[in-house]
Amino acid sequence: MTDTSAASKPSGPLRDVWVQFRSHKGAMFGLITLSILIVAVMIGPYLWVPEKLSVAQAIKLKNQGPSFRFPLGTDQLGRDMLARMLLAGRISLAVGLVAMGIAIVFGTLIGVLAGYFRRLDGPLMRLTDMFLALPLIPLLLVMVMLFRDRIAGIIGPELGAFTLIVFAIGITSWMATARIVRGEVLTLKEREYVLAARSIGARPNRIILRHILPNVISPVMVAATLGVAEAIITESVLSFLGLGFPPDFPTWGRLLYDGLQYMQVYPERVVWPGLAISLTVLSVNYIGDGLRDALDPRIRGR
């Protein structure tokens, strides 16, 4: 028992997490799929440059099926679908991940504060109720009307639209997370280990960071993975209503809606963006699932 060095060196908690994550087949599938998607949309547009067509040529080549010249066919204006899909993925993935990030951070913050500090509970939860009661579409409409031109004037139309949409989606989808987290915190803070930490003299911020947050990670993960899907869909709804990105600016949601009118004649026009959205959502869900398991020492190593 004198051998202290071998016994006490931590084997690296991050390593344990990674080992457990690797053993989760779904999570690895999700990680690989999402990586491929991200890499494709990042460097794809540089590798696959569509040929420049005159308007007359483009009209002749409209609504083509898949071919070597146009691997995913062309749309109703003769534009190359593959190039548009790749470009659209950039926006959709970025919107989905960033909006989810905003919603999760904000929702967790509100939830933890409301759950842990009794005095903040009432005001913060009423705020949450208020946001839940707001009709989403009119709110977004007003936000876009008020701020689009102003933000576009400062950071350019594309980045401006991106910021506005991400912000708008984030600010309108944190409420579910806040409620879940608050409920979880309310039960956790009565646990004896939180009491033990208080009896040691730990300050609330340390208790929250060390005892509360690691234990609310499971519901947050679930909310986060569902949030990505929701954000991508909401973005497409906004674009469809003309509130999102400019019409010539492709996103997966927009491609989906553009294809809807031609669905019976050219179903692949809907299938491609739909497949991309589904794959993203599915892989994010699996990654979240695997992470949740890997972060829980009770499940790890089983």
Binding site: E192, Y193, L195, I200
Partner: protein, 349 residues
């Protein structure tokens, strides 16, 4: 005899009840309603009573995990109940707690190493190596294998988990430890191990315990003096042997008559006192003595006047109208006479 390390005077802990649409305060659960006692340095005070009588609340209010409604808790010369948050934090290392449920008192996402060193993280500015050395030292002290330092709580048995909890409580070298039913959730064969560990630690480190339990035999084993609680008040506070040999308060008598006798020939002769009825609600305790609704020896005075906890025999404090207080040269608060008792005892006898 050593002076009192902990002096509790008239401690009250009421939890408000809010009802109705406007959340108006309509009453209070009087979980602890005027409790006074002393714990001398190095002794173990057992605190027994049935479920819901306020034992755990006393323990938690003592460490100010709850904000007491009234009363004072003087530990080592400072009143814990009124300390400012900063002063309280500085005082925390002196007093620690061992919890009932070893499963719930350990964060499932932290390793044993992290759990035991948490008090050190909070209260000391030691470097990693020094903390590590201390953690391993503590694990030796409570009989945990050093190789388990990087394991998680769910990998341990109940008894081992309780040892982790004890090691955490010891990390800051406290003087006073509240053991809140530390053995209630353990298997009988493990209970003895944990209690013996607590006794060994007391001998080696000079600890003072408040041992909260409803296991009367275990309290008899570990405690020097025993306080019997009923409905938020102390019914009797006596030295262990005197209490178990001849309980004075009718409730203590009834409670102790429930302890099984290991000797079968004597077990047959054991007279059980079966109390009638239920414990009254602590939100609405009876007007006079708290025990008057169930007491077999009740008489008229009990229903109107609350008895005070007074010294009725040398060293024995009872809250019952049946026993008149012995008169002291200097009338003092109950228990406050403890420090000077030996000389008085000499005079009386």
């Amino acid at each position: 005899m050593s002076p009192a390390l902990v002096q509790v005077r008239d401690l009250k802990m009421h939890f408000p009840i809010y009802t109705g649409l406007l959340r108006r305060r309509t009453g209070a659960v009087k979980a602890v309603d005027g409790v006074s006692f002393d714990i001398r340095a190095g002794e173990t005070l057992g605190l027994v009573g049935e479920s819901g009588c306020g034992k755990s609340t006393v323990g938690r209010a003592l460490l100010r995990l709850y904000e007491p409604t009234a009363g004072s808790v003087v530990i080592g010369g400072e009143d814990i109940a009124t300390l400012s948050p900063a002063a309280l934090r500085a005082k925390r290392p002196m007093m620690q707690m061992v919890f009932q449920d070893p499963q719930a008192s350990l964060n499932p996402r932290m390793t044993v190493q992290a759990i035991i060193s948490e008090p050190l993280d909070e209260q000391s500015d030691w470097d990693r190596d020094r903390k590590q050395t201390r953690v391993l030292e503590l694990m030796d002290q409570v009989g945990l294998n050093r190789r388990f330092a990087n394991r998680y709580p769910h990998e341990f048995s109940g008894g081992q988990r309780q040892r982790i909890g004890i090691a955490r409580a010891l990390a800051l070298s406290p003087k006073f430890i509240v053991c809140d039913e530390p053995i209630a959730a353990l298997d009988v064969s493990i209970q003895a191990q944990v209690v013996n560990l607590l006794e060994d630690l007391q001998d080696n480190l000079g600890l003072t315990y408040l041992f909260i339990s409803h296991d009367l035999s275990m309290v008899r084993h570990i405690a020097d003096r025993v306080a019997v609680m009923y409905l938020g008040r102390i019914a009797e506070l006596s030295p262990r042997d005197a209490l178990y040999a001849r309980p004075l308060h009718p409730y203590a008598e009834a409670l102790l008559s429930a302890v099984p006798e290991p000797d079968p020939s004597r077990e047959g002769a054991r007279q059980r006192i079966i109390l009638q009825g239920d414990v009254p609600s602590p939100a609405n305790p009876p007007k006079g003595c708290n025990f008057c609704t169930r007491c077999p020896k009740v008489f008229d005075r009990c229903r109107v006047e609350k008895p005070d906890l007074v010294e009725v025999e040398p060293g024995r404090l009872v809250a019952c109208h049946l026993y008149p207080a012995i008169t002291h040269p200097s009338p003092d608060q109950p228990g406050g006479t403890q420090a000077t008792k030996p000389t008085q005892q000499g005079e009386v006898q």
